[in-house]
């Protein structure tokens, strides 16, 4: 049943589709990381209507399926005269959805910084911006890197959803090849293996970081 010659024939095509998967993963996660931080700040805003609307928006995005959000963006943006390539829409969708999770991660990291650190910063007359960039975030981010890594892996595994809005990523390419040759076993197996090859070592790396970052003293020795 399994044909090795067919396997080697389709592998290059699948690998080039994997590139799209990686682009979507990296850019989607980058967007999620930045936007997540923005949500965190908006939710902490002193002006009530800003913080409460940010909270509401974040909750809404987080509590609805990513697939619906992708469809929504893909089919409604053109009616606002915003015409973007499917991949771009996909990246925006992934970034937006995961930003809501990352926002929670940032919040946890920020709250774990001792309140005395804020007071020390004040006693040295740092501006609010300096307090964030020099004192709070450098302490808040390292401990949450493993958690962020987990979301990166999860996001990676969700990229096949982009097939639904016609992005030719790994899964979509496999489907196209499969239906072309009426041979599915090899292509879908390969897709699974490619995903595994990247997600498993990443999860080991995350575990390693988790242990390493737990004890900052060791890191600094």
């Amino acid at each position: 049943m399994w044909s090795w010659s067919f396997t080697f024939k389709v592998l290059p095509k699948l690998l080039s589709a994997a590139k799209i998967t990686f682009i979507a993963t990296i850019l989607g996660f980058l967007l999620a990381s930045i936007l997540g931080l923005v949500w965190t700040f908006l939710k902490r805003a002193k002006i009530h209507w800003i913080s409460s609307s940010a909270t509401a928006i974040v909750e809404f995005i987080r509590r609805t399926p990513l697939l619906i959000q992708l469809f929504f963006l893909y089919y409604t943006l053109p009616s606002f005269n915003i015409r973007l390539p499917a991949l771009t829409v996909g990246i925006i969708g992934l970034g937006l959805h995961y930003s809501t999770y990352l926002s929670e991660v940032y919040r946890a990291g920020i709250e774990a910084v001792e309140k005395e650190q804020w007071e020390a910063a004040k006693s040295l007359n740092f501006t609010p911006y300096q307090t964030w960039t020099l004192v709070i975030l450098p302490q808040a981010i390292p401990p949450i890197i493993p958690m962020m890594g987990n979301y990166l892996i999860t996001l990676f595994k969700e990229t096949p959803l982009l097939a639904a809005i016609s992005v030719v990523e790994l899964l979509q390419q496999a489907k196209i090849i499969g239906s072309e040759y009426f041979q599915y076993l090899e292509v879908f197996t390969l897709v699974g293996i490619i995903f595994f090859i990247f997600s498993y070592p990443s999860s080991l790396l995350v575990q390693y970081l988790e242990i390493k970052l737990k004890n900052p003293a060791e890191k600094r020795m």
């Binding site: 007071e119 006693s123 007359n125 600094r220």
Partner: protein, 295 residues
């Protein structure tokens, strides 16, 4: 019924009023408590945390270069009193001034309005603080802890900041550890770095809140020695100490104030306050210390 209620209410009211009467402040002979040109001034400053009234009416002036020590039992409001000057806590009422300028209000178009962040930053630049728990930045080396604020806040040239920091770290006997991180230091070492970090900002007023209370006993001496030297050398820097180290207070202070139940109850020169306390409260407070020392 009604009249009984009324009696109870009146009784309660009078009780509260009685409690709120400001006690006569005892000033020992020859003590300077007012200044032509005070650096710091508290006028009838009150502070509550919810229901709890911690400070009930503080009147205090501090002179330029003065070394002032605040004593009082735990929970009497010493920390709150100085935290307000660092703008870490806002008074519930009253006026606070630094160099004749109001800390919590400012003039805008001829009107007095609550201070904005810019005004607070300007005022804050005159004040520095050393905390009981050191509060060093754990992600920075000793040297970076000492140079970051001069460079970023005062805009000092990094080389110049580094040079000054090394000089200062020599004074607190930490110059051999400039590349260490705080978690590689003992409590006493951390506190000496924290002192260096605060002094390097050259504040007009340096606040020190029980800086030896969190230390193991064998480290208290090294920190007090360093502080003693700095207090002697920095003649122009006003320093306000909160401490239970009475021998230290006797040696370095120009004046000691005793806080009790939300008021300054007694103040005077160190010798006089410590050897000849007038109020029963201060006598009791001091005798508790003598007992502890004899243990």
């Amino acid at each position: 019924m009604e009249s009984a209620d009324l009696i109870i209410k009146t009784a309660r009211k009078s009780k509260i009023q009685k409690k709120d009467i400001k006690p006569e402040m005892i000033v020992h002979e020859g003590t300077l408590t007012t200044f032509d040109n005070p650096l710091v001034k508290y006028i009838n400053v009150k502070k509550n945390f919810g229901e709890l009234q911690v400070l009930k009416g503080i009147d205090l002036e501090v002179g330029y270069g003065e070394k002032l020590t605040i004593i009082g039992s735990s929970g009497s409001g010493k920390t709150t009193l100085i935290r307000m000057l660092m703008t870490l806590e806002k008074p519930s009422s009253g006026i606070m001034e630094i160099e004749g300028e109001s800390l919590w209000t400012m003039k805008k178009n001829g009107k007095t309005v609550p201070a904005d962040e810019a005004h607070l930053r300007k005022m804050r630049s005159k004040v520095g603080m050393v905390f009981q728990q050191y509060n060093l930045f754990p992600h920075m080396t000793v040297l970076d802890n000492c140079t970051i604020a001069p460079i970023k806040v005062k805009g000092m040239d990094p080389e110049e900041a580094k040079e000054q920091a090394i000089q200062m770290l020599k004074r607190v006997k930490m110059s051999d550890k400039i590349n260490y991180y705080p978690n590689q230091l003992s409590g006493g070492q951390k506190q000496r770095v924290a002192i260096a970090r605060a002094v390097l900002m050259r504040p007009k007023i340096l606040l020190l809140d029980e800086v030896t209370s969190a230390l193991d006993p064998e480290m208290v001496g090294e920190v007090l020695n360093v502080l003693n030297e700095i207090a002697q050398e920095e003649k122009e820097m006003t320093m306000i100490f909160v401490t239970h180290e009475l021998d230290f207070a006797r040696e370095i202070s120009d004046r000691i104030i005793f806080i009790n139940e939300g008021y300054i109850l007694e103040q005077g020169k160190p010798e006089s306050i410590l050897n000849d306390p007038k109020s029963e409260r201060l006598q009791a407070f001091l005798s508790r210390f003598k007992e502890n020392r004899n243990l």
